[in-house]
Amino acid sequence: MVTEELTLNIGPSHPSTHGVCRLLVRLDGEIVTHVEPIIGHLHRGIEKMAENRTYLQVVPLTDRLDYVGSMYANWAYCRAVERLAGIRVPERAEYIRVIVCELQRIASHMMGIGSSAADTGATSAFLYAFAQRDLVIDLFEELCGARLTYNYVRPGGVSFDLPDGWVERCRAFTAQHPKAMLEIDGFFFGNAIARARLKGVGVLDPDAAVAWGVSGPSARGSGVDWDLRRDDPYSVYPRFDFDVPIGSNGDAFDRARVRLWECIESCRIIDQALDQLEPGPIMADGLPRLLAPRPGDAYDHIESARGSLGVYLVSDGSPRPYRMKVRSPAFCNLAVLPLIAVGHTLSDLLVILGSLDPVFGEVDR
């Protein structure tokens, strides 16, 4: 029997490409024989734009990198600026940053788990995850007035102090969240169909994960025990006691479930941070509005919900960055897709893409 390969363009506008990604797929029946992600549909040239803006003006741009986890890009950028300009961030601001970023991790992972569920057709599990995400977003709205692009972490600190009663509401959230996660765990990850769909799908070898620069939960699902919060500690993370969940099979199931357990661990970190939080300033003293760091280059990275998010800044001494480069984890993670998706069916391809949890604002920049 002679068969002909079917070429299929998935995207750039498709329900399951998590943004505007185009997958050029060749199918033999339902089996994927070739896949090539074609990116750049959301390329806005943020790195070029940053060269034309002052250091403060770049912060809102970083919001728009990873729009599911704005706080991370804010923070990574601010850390690079602080390193470059030698700014010492007050302790309270560091704690607030940790708290909001762990909340952001929960919000972002809810998106990741939810999209894993939605890709397999479990729409309800998707919405159960999103209900939790909404609670986080409500906390953020109270904090900084925005629900998506926060512009909250600034060079030198954070833009607002915690409003009255926020700490209690945050504690109420972390109190109920692990339970909700365990329910989703039982409901979705325990479901026979979901397990059949996710297990053994898109297996990523740990060595390949390291070589391809995959980081974050996507790599930890493969058993790569690498978390910047623990292994290259920054900010006040050394003061917290938390575990890093690891998978062993490296399939879509492990990647998604690592995210789920990370949310529970994030709650632990948030509780400890709230316990240790003390009153104080939230912005570094004597910070000029027009930063002009001395010439040089600095790189700083943090563990975002997608992996190690780095910002490389070059200053020429003027008030504007000479060059800004964002090392986006989603970009590096996505590159591994052809490696792990070929040989699976079309249905699995989208599950695998979803399990890498790319956000195309960050991939394309």
């Binding site: 079917l6 070429t7 299929l8 498709h14 329900p15 399951s16 199918l27 339902e30 569920a117 939605a118 890709d119 397999t120 057709g121 479990a122 729409t123 309800s124 599990a125 919405l127 159960y128 209900a131 979705f188 479901n191 169909i193 979901a194 059949a196 769909r197 069916t345 079309l346 249905s347 699995d348 989208l350």
Partner: protein, 316 residues
């Protein structure tokens, strides 16, 4: 002449029942899905959003009827009706009460099993006519899935026929006794699962899997033609549930007369709700898992059921 007129009348009535059922079904499904997902579902138009579909139907009617430029125009236009016709036809043989069906024929059960299967032709036609890769994949998935699930579905109905000793649906209803319920439990469950697969609903909605194929075999349909596909799907849900309620669950039992009709409607509604509940609970299976489930689980289960009935039969 009068029988022809009566036939046309029954036909119109059947279409209206299916259309009305689809309208209510869509609203009900949205409410069920909403509450399962911690939402409210429609609630703006009418009490609890019950008139939502009255607003949606005119919208669909007035939408532009788009035919893709590369499509096979006649087939593209006729495919929705081809999908709808078998569902409407299947309505004809359903025994609404003991001894009464719109079209009471001696091979009614066979008719009910065979005619809705023709829908696969319509789906293939629609998929082919669109000249769309997604639709083609969806159509092919539908073909393999529907043909495969014919087998367990037919085998699940076979014990009924054995027990009743007749292929005439009204006689099946008349012969029904309450102890058939525990006896035919396996057949009932298999019938329900196979029917869900037959009507391409979650967790077996691979042909129209929205996260993979956007909308599958009706990806390029819009407006009323798309609505007819939806109507055919809801019609299939309703007819399959009606048939199950009438034959497996004893139609109007334990009542008779008007109360019996009410009981039938209630049973059907419960079955429809279970179908919806299933969709909003379970993830979608993959094509190979779907077929393996059919041959490895469902078909042996029906064979076991047949054996049980075979053991019981001499005692009757």
């Amino acid at each position: 002449m009068s029988s022809l007129l009566l036939g046309i009348l029954w036909g119109v009535a059947g279409v209206l029942v299916i259309a009305g059922g689809a309208v209510i079904g869509v609203w009900w499904e949205r409410k069920v899905a909403g509450h399962i997902q911690l939402r409210y579902g429609p609630q703006q138009i009418g009490p609890a959003g019950s008139l939502q579909m009255l607003a949606d139907v005119p919208k669909l009617l007035f939408k532009e009827d788009i035919v893709p430029s590369g499509a096979d125009r006649p087939l593209f236009k006729w495919a929705p009706l081809m999908a709808f016709a078998p569902v409407a036809a299947a309505m004809a043989v359903i025994p609404f009460a003991a001894g009464w069906a719109p079209f009471d024929t001696s091979v009614g059960v066979l008719f009910f099993l065979a005619v809705p299967s023709l829908e696969v032709v319509a789906i293939l036609v629609a998929a082919w006519a669109q000249r769309n890769s997604y639709a083609a994949i969806g159509g092919l998935r539908a073909a393999s899935q529907m043909i495969a699930y014919e087998v367990p579905r037919t085998l699940a109905v076979a014990p009924l026929v054995l027990l009743a000793g007749s292929l005439r649906p009204t006689e099946v209803v008349a012969a029904w006794r309450w102890w058939w319920l525990p006896l035919l439990a396996i057949a009932f469950v298999v019938y329900l699962i196979a029917s869900i697969a037959e009507m391409n609903r979650g967790p077996f909605d691979l042909p129209e899997a929205e996260s993979e194929l956007v909308a599958g075999y009706f990806a390029d349909y819009s407006g009323m033609r798309w609505a007819i596909f939806m109507m055919a799907e809801y019609g299939a849900v309703i007819t399959a549930s009606l048939f199950a309620a009438a034959t497996f669950l004893g139609a109007g039992w334990p009542f008779s007369g008007a109360l019996g009709v009410v009981a039938l409607v209630v049973k059907t509604s419960v079955l429809v709700t279970i179908v919806m509940w299933t969709k909003w609970t379970l993830p979608r299976v993959r094509q190979d898992q779907l077929l393996r489930f059919c041959w490895v689980v469902l078909v042996p289960a029906t064979l076991v059921q047949l054996a049980i009935v075979g053991v019981v039969l001499p005692w009757m």
